[in-house]
């Protein structure tokens, strides 16, 4: 969802058809069209630019700081690409976790920062932590 999408806008968008979104000259509909473009563009960009590092063979993590509320969607995308691998994306404020198992994508949204989430996963899995360099992950993300 767009970062500044309001409830009235959401209600209006739900009533629009695809044609309305593409063609309507109404200023409110034009505004919704621009919001949709912005969200879709971010999803496309993040899917291309996020870089993942292995925590171990069961977990891949990466830096993600989306402008809009797209973290869930992007995390799900990577989970489907790597079944039975836990995907953790996030930044210093929030994180998203997904796992694709048996054709279903499972998600846990009650997450803190990326650092906190990775600590939690490491303790749950009982893994010895390898050299985890979040600073490096961020740099790779930024340069890509």
């Amino acid at each position: 969802m767009h970062e500044s999408c309001s409830e009235p806008q959401l209600c209006r968008a739900e009533k629009l058809t695809t044609e309305d979104v593409e063609l309507s000259p109404d200023p409110e509909d034009v505004g919704i069209r621009k919001m949709i473009s912005s969200v879709l563009a971010e999803i496309y960009r993040m899917r291309a630019f996020v870089r993942l590092k292995p925590l171990d063979n069961q977990v891949l993590y990466g830096y993600l700081k989306p402008r809009h509320k797209t973290g869930d969607d992007i995390c799900r995308f990577f989970a489907r690409r790597s079944p039975f691998t836990i995907i953790v994306l996030g930044n210093s404020l929030e994180s998203w976790i997904s796992l694709c198992a048996g054709g279903r994508v499972l998600q846990d949204n009650s997450c803190g920062s990326l650092e906190q989430t990775l600590d939690e996963i490491s303790s749950v899995l009982g893994r010895v932590e390898k050299d985890r360099d979040l600073e490096e992950v961020w740099k790779v993300y930024y340069s890509s």
């Binding site: 044609e19 593409e22 063609l23 000259p25 996020v50 690409r81």
Partner: protein, 399 residues
Amino acid sequence: MVTLEKMAHLALGSCFDSLGQNTTSLPDPIYLNREKLGALGAGTRYDICTSSGCSDVMGVCHSFTHDGRCISLFKTLYTNHCSHQCNYCTNASNCSQKAKVFSYSPDELARLTVSLYRSNYIEGLFLSSGAGRDEDVIMEKLIETARLLRNKFHFRGYIHLKILPGASFSHIREAMELSTRVSVNLEAPSASHMNDISATKDYNNDILQRQRYVKDLMGSVGLPAGQTTQLVVGAGDESDREIFKRILYEYRELEIKRAYYSAFSPQEGTAFASKEPQPLWREHRLYQMDWLYRVYHFHPKEIEQAFDETGNLPNRDPKAAIASELIDGPVDPNVANYRDLVRVPGIGPISAHRIIALRMRQRITRKDELASLGVIVKRAAPFLKINGWRDTTLDRWSA
């Protein structure tokens, strides 16, 4: 919502993951020979997978999905050793300044691809190769790489395999079963032009026949993204009209999905080192001509209008040239059908459909309404009549 503990349990309990069956530890680390990676990545510089040019980063090429999304592919040769004598190629056996010869093993290349894929550096693999000493042996290696990716590493991403000239029917079949797309490089529009640029490739047997094998196997094997081909433009003295005739045959008879065009650029040490390079605009105009046929569904006789007296495309938008010759009078976007709308410069298939959809709700009365639908009004305006008023300055419509 699912708890982290449940997710961890499911992940730990999996017998398969994208690294293969019963993996409990990471695969052996891959020692990256950067010289090899660079040499074999650079060797695919002229293997085209998109019409919009290639990345400057060796080994990474960008292509586009059907929905317009840009994706990165790991583009590499399996080996840069080749027994063919193509006069434009630095990997040719008769090149006097050949680079050091490198080769991957199938396991090494598959592991490298999977590592890049899991880290999201790439979404797929574009694998070509020199012919080595024996193209059958090299084809077997390419197929083994794809087999390892699909079966051992459960790789579900995009794989584009090059079919080497002269590859056997059974190898082609196996390659198609494992790939998303395959391609055989035409390089030239006819056998006589091929003889000018390569002494060792038999155009009909090594290339056209292999394309026919792919077409024949499509019914039984299937290939999600079909087959493509590419030509080197300007290495010989072929005209754009000859290229167009060949491409028409490829689309109609061999049912290829796309053709790519690579402007010739002389390379040091090759037999063609002193030839003039082809301007990039020639490649650009060929792509525009290709789109007019493939996407806009122009008839070949319409496209013929774009060629000059030498049989070449001048450095001018072919669609504008055709429109100037063939459009009889100003087009009214409120009544024109789809076919007439897409023949107007500045109006493509998407904006033509939008015009038709919009005029069912309201009459189009202003140019800025067309602009909001994606029409490039500056190009379209001379050919349009809106609300009885026309902008045209075309001489032959002045009366």
